[in-house]
């Protein structure tokens, strides 16, 4: 919840980063997580739409997803690995998928985001406006700092992928979901619904998970789902 009191639409990355140096400003991409309720601290928005950050490009074994590329654009792009496309579709319904963005999803770091799990198994690297880069897992773990401006997310392609999820209905936000990718005899697994953000895990360390309990599933149940769904994904990949 926010109290929105100002709006800027910078025309260059430099202008944007300059604006974002002020602590009361935050970037605006899709806007699906920003809700004005009149309360909270006053916030000014820095709209990224004019910065040309919405492109999706391939570079050999990598694909670069622009920060303001919408989830619908990710879904529609044949350059993007299938698991990421499917996950982009699963994360939002049609009328919000056209607004929500890659960068916004990373910023929100929601624990049930299948897209983030799919990015994780594709070795996602988050690229910032100051030319710094960091693995997605690290970015989510540490959180974004004021002034951070994501410009793109790079993922590696190739390999086979599988995913499994349990929800109340077929398209429900998953209670727990597992995404796996096998490439060069190496398997990466990412799990949603067992912590504050999706996380990379090893198959033999699932017992160390400490999932939360909420109205959709107890910690005990989520641990069980993690085991069952991981086994299915691993089985499908092998």
């Amino acid at each position: 919840m926010h109290q929105l009191v100002g709006y800027h639409r910078p025309k260059s990355l430099a202008e944007a980063t300059g604006l974002l140096e002020s602590p009361n400003r935050m970037p605006l991409a899709g806007g699906t997580t920003i809700v004005h309720d009149g309360g909270g601290h006053p916030v000014e928005l820095v709209d990224l739409q004019a910065l040309g950050l919405g492109t999706i490009a391939t570079n050999g074994s990598h694909v670069e997803l622009g920060a303001t590329a919408t989830l619908q654009a990710v879904l529609d792009s044949e350059m993007v690995p299938d698991a990421i496309r499917k996950a982009a579709k699963a994360d939002q319904p049609s009328t919000l998928r056209t607004l929500a963005t890659v960068g916004g999803s990373v910023g929100a770091a929601e624990g049930e985001s299948l897209l983030l799990a799919a990015l994780l198994v594709h070795d996602a690297i988050v690229n910032f406006a100051d030319d710094q880069s960091a693995p997605l897992a690290e970015v989510m773990s540490n959180g974004l700092s004021p002034g951070d401006l994501i410009v793109s997310v790079s993922v590696t392609t190739g390999g086979s992928t599988a995913m499994a999820a349990t929800g109340r209905t077929p398209r429900d936000t998953p209670i727990v979901a597992v995404v796996g990718r096998r490439n060069d005899d190496h398997t990466r697994l990412a799990i949603c619904g067992v912590g504050p953000t999706p996380q990379l895990v090893e198959e033999d360390s699932l017992g160390q998970l400490e999932p939360p309990t909420d109205f959709r599933g107890t910690a005990e149940y989520r641990k069980r789902l993690a085991e069952v769904l991981t086994a299915r994904v691993v089985g499908e990949l092998s």
Binding site: G31, D47, D172
Partner: protein, 977 residues
């Protein structure tokens, strides 16, 4: 303010916006009324528009972000006369019920077909995934998109009409179904009509006419409550309680009152204390009158504390924040069984609420009824069974929230334009609260964006009326989605125990239903909903001895009230589960066991008169009891069995697929029976007059809230008057203009108001014949016939309806031919239905996936098979949510944890099971053209059918709803599966 420019529907348009303003808000200010509010966070999709050609939820686009972009709304299609092919497809396929989200769906279709002129059903469902629809079950909207695509591609399309399906039974006896017979092949959206030889072919009745309000809905014309802007209108907001139970020690409103732009702040300290019950019911409303407009005690999180009216929503919100309230927090209780225990917190300790049955134990009502002696029967029976079931709290979730606008007109009468199912009850109930006579209040019901019972309530009309009096300005109040969850109405949770005695031949000899209902903080519909539970729970099966015991408990949960089905879904879940369990224990096929005992043609509904609002003393035998006078249940069962592939329930290879070891499949069945209105209570009125061109104005008090009532009533009148439906101009409802009607509830509109429409039309027809006989020189007016817009003499001569109208209005013995009638029924003919469900259970995770739902309904003669099947499709999907995924979740303080759509999960278009609907005709002599009710029975059978399918799949019985993954997983684990 910043000036923005958007290319709106092809025209550069400027608007003023602040940083927090949404595109949705700007579009509404610019008069784009097709863009509707569903929530502030975009999940409903009701406000979806095309933004640079892409479908987006406009609430989530900031207005300043939209500067320089193009925006398209459905108004862009309204430049030509007639309908765009996409709009026409939505109208002709019955895809419009309330039409509240029609603009979004039409725009989504435009964008989809632009990208892909020949989309798959999966692509269509994905497009619709962001537009939640609580009404159609998405079945007919998908058909509309397919049809629009075909038309725009230039393909030929056939007219959208019901499919006639041959009968499988003789109408009375069960049929053997050929496992190789797959049944009719047609789109799921097409209603399968199984005709009865008793029903004659008619000109308008029984036809899939396009809804009379289709044009305004599909064009997004201003038709709903919020689509007017009275000059000087103020905006209201309500301060809701953060506590489940508290005494208000003090309210300091100084700062709020002092805020410039705030015109009134109302609370218990400055508002008259007039007791009332908010349920929209006939006079005298059932006691107790346990509410006041603003109380000094709050009894649930979300309860009213105060209300303000200000120049803008933002100012009103700021004023609410400035109210300084001191609470003394009191202990709270949420569970109905805990609430009635000694020592539980007393929720209504105030002394001015009368007729609480046991105030100290929070028992607001206690009632019982008995025929015969169940205890004697239990003592004598070889087998006695008992089962206890718990049903949970869910919400109606109309996509249009509650909204009311009130003002004093030039005569200083109070006008309330409001989203209500009960305009006449609202007028009467509002009067004492605001200190005005009924004659000085006018309630207008415009188009309604769904209600499902949530709007069978005088919920917020008193607030806007109080504020309009205080400010002498028009005042508007609209609930947010979150407020809708905790400050509106919900379905009653219940704990139900059935006991049944069975003799050696498998006949029920006694049934005892013990019910504890949870009416939350206030009584409202607490008595009547629980009474209907008893009625539905104890009239479906024959047994000579029956007993109903019921306690209705106050608790501190947000208030349950009326919700489509009105107590029946709870009762039928328990009953159909209980009967299933008995059958399994007896080693009987559940359907056969139920068939042996369910009520059949001519059977007595033996406890019905002793339960409910007009119940007679349960200890006194009546001379006569109501009987079943029409039933098509065997044909329903046969059609349903064939549709679902019922034979597969016994096939182990099907139930346990070899290639998916963690999956178990199952089929479930539920017998459903409902009512058609409330006998000796519900009444509807209708008046009809002829116009110069031979058309007719028809005024009805009945309240079309998206159900198609106006269309059905118009078809009935058109059939009587021998004109096409387009010649009937239907208007509903306005307490100054239309006749009285109790309102849209209790499955009464087609049966009760429909009969009134038929009777009024018959009055008009009689006079038309008399005048036409004079014009034609025919001695016996009764020999004339009306059809094809003409009045026909036996010898083949005729005059047109227009000629008759002009003659009688202008030429000779001038008169206004008109007729008025009203109808109250002593009968309540039950519609019957067979609900079949196919599921898959993941035994490792507990996830249940519903694969197919088939409902075959005997609703008598469906006046409009397309709208009737739409009712069944939408009702089944709501019922699916009840059974499967919808649930209020609270913390230990009574705060709702999932007051947003998504966490509160309702089904969307891209995850729907297959559905198939059969309308099995019977001729109910007491109904208009043979009709019975159809709107509520689809709510009754889904939950028990899923539960029974889980037994078929896994052998595990689960007695609590909903069947969420962990609940099922826990049950499977406990059972060792």
């Amino acid at each position: 303010m910043t000036t923005i420019t958007i290319n709106l529907n092809g025209t550069p348009t400027t608007a003023e916006a602040l940083p927090h303003h949404s595109l949705f808000r700007i579009l509404r200010e610019l008069g784009m009324f097709s863009v509707k509010y569903g929530s502030a966070t975009g999940e409903t999709g009701a406000a979806a528009v095309l933004f640079d050609g892409v479908l987006v939820s406009s609430e989530m686009v900031l207005a300043l972000k939209a500067d320089g972009h193009s925006v398209t709304t459905v108004e862009s299609l309204n430049t030509e006369s007639g309908l765009h092919p996409i709009q026409a497809a939505f109208a002709t396929t019955g895809a419009l019920q309330s039409g509240y989200s029609a603009g979004a769906m039409v725009l989504g279709t435009m964008a989809l077909l632009e990208r892909n002129p020949d989309p798959s059903e999966e692509e269509i469902r994905d497009m619709l995934s962001g537009i939640l629809d609580r009404e159609t079950g998405y079945v007919k909207p998908v058909e509309a998109v397919l049809r629009a695509a075909a038309v725009l591609r230039g393909d030929s399309v056939e007219s959208f009409a019901p499919l006639i399906v041959p009968t499988l039974t003789d109408g009375t006896n069960a049929a053997t179904i050929d496992p190789n017979d797959a049944g009719p092949l047609a789109s799921p959206s097409v209603p399968r009509v199984v005709p009865s030889i008793d029903v004659p072919d008619m000109a308008v009745v029984g036809k899939g006419e396009v809804k009379v309000d289709a044009l305004k809905l599909v064009k997004g014309n201003p038709a709903f409550t919020d689509d007017i802007e009275p000059r000087g209108m103020l905006y209201a907001k309500v301060l809701h309680s953060p506590h489940a139970h508290a005494r208000i020690v003090s309210i300091d409103d100084t700062a709020a009152v002092a805020l410039p732009g705030v015109h009134a702040v109302l609370h218990h300290g400055n508002t008259a204390r007039v007791k009332y019950a908010s349920g929209g019911q006939s006079w005298p409303n059932p006691h107790p009158y346990d509410q006041v407009s603003f109380d000094d005690t709050v009894r649930h999180v979300g309860d009213r504390v105060a209300a303000v009216a200000a120049e803008s929503i933002e100012l009103a919100e700021e004023a609410v924040r400035l109210l300084d309230v001191t609470y003394e927090v009191l202990p709270a209780v949420f569970d109905e069984l805990e609430a009635i225990q000694p020592g539980a917190p007393v929720i209504h300790s105030e002394t001015d609420t009368e007729e609480i049955y046991d105030r100290d134990r929070n028992i607001v009502h206690h009632f019982e009824a008995e025929r015969g002696s169940v205890e004697a029967a239990f003592a004598a029976a070889p087998k006695v069974y008992e089962g206890t079931f718990r049903v949970h709290q869910v919400q109606q979730v109309p996509i249009e929230p509650h909204i009311s606008i009130a003002w004093l007109d030039s005569d200083e009468r109070m006008v309330v334009r409001t989203a209500t199912q009960v305009p006449f009850h609202t007028r009467r109930m509002l009067a004492p609260l605001i200190g005005m006579d009924v004659k000085n209040i006018r309630v207008i019901k415009p188009r309604i964006g769904g209600g499902f019972g949530a709007k069978q309530e005088m919920l917020i009309e008193d607030i806007v009326a109080h504020l309009a009096i205080a400010t002498r300005r028009p005042v508007r109040l609209e609930l947010t989605r979150e407020e809708e969850f905790w400050a509106s109405r919900t379905r009653h949770p219940q704990t139900i125990t059935f006991r049944s005695a069975v003799d050696g031949d498998g006949n029920l000899t006694a049934q005892h239903m013990r019910l504890v209902g949870n009416t939350g903080a206030y009584g409202t519909h607490g008595y009547t909903v629980q009474a209907v539970s008893g009625l539905r729970g104890l009239t479906s099966y024959n047994a000579p001895n029956k007993r109903f015991d019921c306690d209705v408990a106050y608790t501190n949960i947000p208030v349950p009230g009326a919700y489509r089905g009105y107590g029946a879904p709870q009762a039928e879940f328990a009953l159909e589960s209980h009967m299933e369990d008995i059958a399994h224990d007896l080693g009987r096929d559940p359907l056969e066991f139920k068939r042996q005992n369910w009520v059949k043609l001519g059977d007595e509904l033996n406890i019905a008169p002793h339960i409910g609002e007009r119940a007679t003393d349960g200890t006194v035998e009546l001379d006569e009891y109501p009987r079943v006078m029409s039933s098509g249940i065997e044909e329903c069962v046969a059609q349903g069995q064939r549709s679902i592939g019922w034979h597969r329930r016994l096939d182990p290879q099907w139930r346990q697929p070899a290639d998916r070891p963690h999956i178990r499949r199952g089929l479930g069945f539920a017998f459903c029976m409902h009512g058609s209105g409330i006998p000796f209570l519900d009444m509807g009125g209708c008046s009809i007059k002829i116009n110069d061109d031979g058309s007719f104005n028809m005024l009805v008090g009945a309240t079309d809230l998206g159900t198609g009532a106006d269309t059905v009533l118009g078809q009935i009148a058109a059939e009587v008057l021998g004109v096409p439906l387009e010649d009937i101009i239907v208007y509903s409802s306005d307490t100054d203009v239309t006749p009285f009607d109790t309102g849209a509830y209790a499955s009464s509109t087609t049966y009760i108001s429909g009969t009134a429409a038929k009777m009024a039309a018959e009055v008009v027809r009689k006079r038309i014949k008399e005048r036409a006989a004079e014009m034609l020189g025919v001695k016996e007016p009764c020999t004339l016939e009306l059809h094809d817009r003409r009045i026909w003499a036996p010898d083949g001569r005729s005059i047109t309806m227009e000629e008759l109208a002009l003659h009688t209005l202008h030429w000779e013995d001038q008169e206004q031919i008109m007729g008025t009638a009203s109808f109250m029924s002593p009968d309540c003919p039950p519609p019957f239905a067979a609900q079949f469900i196919e599921i898959e259970v993941d035994i490792q995770t507990g996830q249940v996936e519903v694969m197919k739902m088939t409902m075959a309904v005997d609703c008598g003669v469906a006046i409009n098979p397309i709208t009737a099947s739409g009712q069944v499709e939408g009702g089944m999907v709501q019922a699916l949510g009840y059974a499967h995924c919808e649930e209020y979740a609270y913390d230990d303080k009574g705060r709702m944890l999932n007051d947003r759509l998504g966490p509160y999960k309702i089904y969307r278009a891209d995850e729907m099971p297959q559905t198939e609907v059969f309308l099995v005709q019977t001729l109910e002599d007491s109904g208009p053209f043979g009709a019975k009710a159809v709107a509520e029975i689809p709510k009754d059978g889904v939950a028990p059918a899923i539960r029974n399918a889980i037994i078929n799949a896994t052998g595990v019985a689960i007695n609590n709803l909903p069947f969420t993954p962990e609940r099922v997983w826990s049950a499977l684990r406990s059972a060792g599966v």
